[in-house]
Symmetry: C2
């Protein structure tokens, strides 16, 4: 009889573990879904389009500095959320960057960072013109994981 | 002795289930990571920036039609990957849309769909100007889940 009780306890424990794992999976799924949804609301987000014309002779160096800045900011700054940097197919030195920050405070903090200041110093003689357009989100729609 | 064997079999089965669940979790994590990474490569992707000026008097109707088109295309077309639609803060009728398709074939298929044709018909008298800029990705960087 003791063995049956032990059996039952072990089973009950395993069932609890499985139940716990199921909850973890459900929570993960719900979190992913809520993150996707959050993208469509984001009342406090600051979204900006930067339009940059770069000296064509220095384009490779500019792009390298830009990529380094983007990767670093996303990695270390909690309030830097999204960068898409694209280049015109016909004039690759005409660059557009879509930037999303958690809020304006996150942006103000961003431009004080060492990596952003390094980027600005590196590219100051590469950039021929810079236009910044502050925008509001109308909507975003993406495949999951994009 | 039978009871011990039964005990062991049940345990072994539970261990296999737990092992399987662990593998599922690891696979999910790896998939999410690879999707994020894929964003930085996407050799065949077609990326476009649409710059649209809308009749201010019809802006709400335009935005509604745009949102409907975006949501439908993302939901039903495998090759429509990402839309960000934003409006200039100063001139909300100046709209920019970042569009990402799996490839040019996906785009060609997209513009033949019923929902896209409905959108075009709905907005044809709302749109004052439309500029399409084909671009190449320099890089993208995003927080996980963004």
């Amino acid at each position: 009889m003791d063995s049956y009780i032990l059996d039952w306890i072990k089973f009950a424990t395993m069932k609890n573990i499985l139940h716990g794992l199921s909850l973890i999976l459900i929570t993960m799924a719900a979190t992913l879904f809520s993150i996707e949804q959050a993208g469509a609301q984001q009342d406090h987000r600051m979204i900006r389009i930067a339009k940059i014309q770069v000296d064509p002779a220095q384009l490779d160096n500019y792009n390298a500095a830009l990529k380094e800045q983007m990767a670093m900011a996303i990695r270390v700054e909690p309030g830097v959320l999204t960068y898409y940097a694209v280049a015109d197919k016909v004039n690759p030195s005409h660059i557009t960057i879509l930037e999303i920050y958690a809020d304006t405070a996150a942006y103000q903090s961003h431009i004080q960072t060492v990596h952003f200041k390094k980027y600005k110093a590196t590219v100051q003689n590469m950039v021929k013109s810079l236009e910044l357009e502050d925008v509001n989100l109308i909507d975003m729609a993406k495949k999951p994981g994009m």
